[in-house]
């Protein structure tokens, strides 16, 4: 029973993080049909934000907020500079562009900062643990569990209750028709990228918090996780992204807990094997939208 609770908390914590990562990728894909390889670099940018602002005298919450803001700005600028000119090109042109942007940002960081991992100053609660009812939990796990749920609820309110949220949902369904109602394409796409950057920024804080290190390639693992979870949940569907993220979180913690070490080494191979199988059997993902129709 205690083990089960520990497992649940760990899974919900990791799963929440994965859900945020996946949403950040899918919110852009739903509108632009762009699989943004450079999404991981938004995590990286926020991670270096933590490093740079962390070396100042600013209070840590402000450091965290500034780092998230940096990721939001980076996302919007990325769209403006690299993706807007190829917006109406083919999906593969956009995909390759994002691959180039990813390489560009990673190597620029490598050049401008350092290729080596660097330690980030984090508040003490990242390494502390608390005892609740005889069980010990890492504070950071509880924090990421809470933050991810709060972020998901706020995002859901944004999408349901605000005008821009309505426009985003409509654009994900039929982008051209949304524009034909007078909604400005640039606004929606910038908003989608801003949300993507916001989620990447939140993810970065906990992702960096796991190792206390940042390096230029730190965004690779999050973007890979987002790929897997979005393929599992369905690329076009925000609910699917959340479910895919949590599912992957439970699966990862489960494998870590119960799989023998020899097989654990091949975890990535197994996970990506699953991706290929799902793409084949259910190209729309495991979770299908209620009102799907032909894409225009």
């Amino acid at each position: 029973m205690d083990n089960l609770i520990q497992y649940l908390i760990s899974s919900l914590s990791l799963g929440g993080l994965y859900a945020l990562m996946t949403l950040g990728l899918v919110v852009v894909y739903g509108i632009l049909r762009l699989i943004n390889f450079a999404y991981g670099e938004l995590v990286m940018v926020a991670g270096y934000g933590l490093l740079l602002f962390g070396n100042t005298t600013l209070a840590w919450p402000i450091v965290a907020l500034l780092s998230i803001a940096v990721a939001v700005v980076a996302a919007v600028v990325m769209e403006r500079v690299a993706f807007r000119p190829v917006r109406f090109a083919s999906a593969s042109t956009m995909l390759i562009t994002s691959f180039a942007v990813s390489t560009l940002l990673q190597n620029t960081t490598l050049l401008a900062i350092s290729p080596r991992p660097q330690a980030v100053r984090l508040p003490s609660f990242f390494v502390e643990s608390v005892a609740i009812g005889g069980l010990r939990f890492r504070v950071v796990d509880l924090a990421s569990l809470t933050v991810s749920i709060v972020a998901l609820v706020l995002l859901s309110i944004l999408l349901r209750r605000t005008t821009i949220g309505l426009a985003l949902r409509a654009a994900a369904d039929d982008f051209t028709m949304t524009r034909l109602l007078g909604v400005r394409a640039n606004h929606i796409i910038s908003a989608a990228f801003a949300i993507s950057g916001l989620l990447a920024g939140i993810v970065a804080i906990f992702w960096v918090g796991r190792s206390s290190l940042v390096e230029p390639a730190i965004g690779l693992q999050p973007v890979l996780i987002a790929f897997i979870a979005s393929v599992v949940g369905g690329m076009e569907n925000l609910k699917g992204a959340v479910l895919g993220g949590y599912l992957l979180g439970f699966l990862t913690v489960g494998l870590q807990t119960w799989l023998p070490q020899a097989l654990l080494d091949y975890r990535n191979a197994v996970l990506f094997g699953i991706v290929i199988v799902i793409l084949l059997l259910r190209p729309e993902g495991l979770i299908r939208p209620a009102y799907s129709r032909e894409r225009r």
Binding site: I35, S90, T97, F99, A100, N107, N268, F272, R295
Partner: protein, 386 residues
């Protein structure tokens, strides 16, 4: 397809092949005449890059699908070629974890069959994977190939008997000379040109331009794609064997995302729509990245020596070449999506004609050298006529 005054397809292939091969031969011969060891290494890497890029073009250019998984097949070719070229004694050094009872422990063949067998191993894996892959389209296809790259990388890092895990394999005989690389590049170029004009290539390009129309003409798309895919990964695997026996020490990190970026950049910058584009891109990118690396090294020396120029450089330069290539690639994608060669083959009648902006700008898929399609094809809703 046949514009008035166009040569027959085979004559066309002959002209293009002659020009491209002459260029590659000239590069190799000039290099060997100079006789500089470093220069020769650069040219050999360049020629192997041509093989890799042309192999990628064979699939991407004709099918219109983007593969990010080819470097995985290069890895398979590089590692599996060790089965065939190393004697058991050499295997004890290079792959010390390989159990002697494994069948491949005792295998040893001359170099040429070893290259072909390595390509064959890659093709076998590719053929199995391909059965599944060719049913996917667009972004799903690319993600699946990328997933494959990660699988190969992850397996290579763990499978110690075969790969020595994350540690570097060394002691591989240096069998690849500049002439082997040249021979492979010439064969790859000719094979890609012949494939493009073959009936399979034509059908594949028809399916790329309009899948539904091609299907209605009876083109079995998945089969045609599968053949191109297997041929392409065979050449890539063989190139992996050549590269391994040139570089002689490598580890799984050599076959991952940055290498994938490099060959995709070569193809996109040159133009995925033609073999000439692939060759041009490989030559241009390989030379400029070599030149940029040297510039980077020189600037770093200046900085270390605190010369007047060196004092202007605030940080040690690294990854400079990748940054420049990435920027070049983004600019090409934005400004000239069909690459330097614009999707044309050298020596084709239309070659050299100014390619102005299309009066009706619309999406140009990577790999398309043909007139763009309408910007918006309105799909009729269910129940709609049409």
């Amino acid at each position: 397809m046949n514009a008035p005054g166009r040569r027959s397809p085979l004559a066309q292939v002959a002209v293009t092949a002659a020009v491209l091969c002459a260029g590659l031969i000239a590069i190799a011969v000039l290099t060997s005449l100079v006789g500089d060891r470093v220069f020769e290494r650069v040219t050999t890497v360049l020629l192997i890059s041509v093989v890799l890029t042309v192999a990628l073009q064979l699939f991407m250019g004709n099918s219109g699908l983007s593969s990010f998984g080819h470097i995985g097949f290069m890895a398979i070719g590089a590692y599996s070629s060790l089965w065939f070229t190393l004697s058991p004694d050499e295997k004890n050094v290079t792959l010390p974890d390989m159990p002697p009872e494994w069948p491949m422990y005792g295998w040893q063949t001359p170099y040429l069959p070893a290259i072909l067998l390595a390509g064959g191993v890659a093709a076998l894996v590719g053929a199995l994977l391909g059965v599944a892959l060719v049913r996917l389209r667009g972004a799903s296809f690319t993600i699946a190939t990328f997933a494959f790259l990660i699988i190969v990388h992850s397996v290579a890092l763990q499978w110690e008997p075969m790969t020595r895990g994350s540690r570097t394999v060394f002691g591989i005989p240096e069998l690849t000379t500049i002439w082997w690389a040249l021979g492979a590049a010439l064969i790859a170029v000719i094979a890609a040109l012949l494939f493009k004009e073959s009936s399979l290539g034509l059908r594949l390009r028809a399916a790329r331009d309009d899948e539904d129309a091609a299907a209605s003409l009876g083109v079995h798309i998945t089969w045609v794609r599968w053949v191109a895919w297997v041929l392409s990964v065979f050449i890539t695997g063989a190139a992996g064997a050549l590269w391994g026996h040139f570089i002689t020490t490598f580890s799984p990190t050599a076959f991952y995302i940055s290498q994938t970026f490099l060959i995709v950049a070569m193809l996109i910058i040159g133009g995925a729509g033609s073999v000439s584009g692939a060759v041009t891109g490989a030559v241009v990118v390989a030379l400029s990245s070599e030149w940029l690396r040297r510039l980077e090294g020189w600037l770093n020396t200046q900085r270390a020596d605190q010369t007047t120029l060196g004092q202007l450089i605030p940080i040690e330069l690294r990854g400079f070449a990748e940054i420049v290539i990435a920027i070049a690639m983004i600019l090409v994608l934005i400004l000239r999506p069909s690459g330097i060669m614009g999707g044309r083959e050298i020596g084709s009648p239309r070659f050299g004609r100014a390619v102005g902006p299309h009066p009706n700008p619309s999406p140009t898929a990577v790999g398309e050298g043909l007139p763009p399609r309408p910007a918006h094809r309105e799909t009729p809703p269910s129940g709609g006529g049409g």
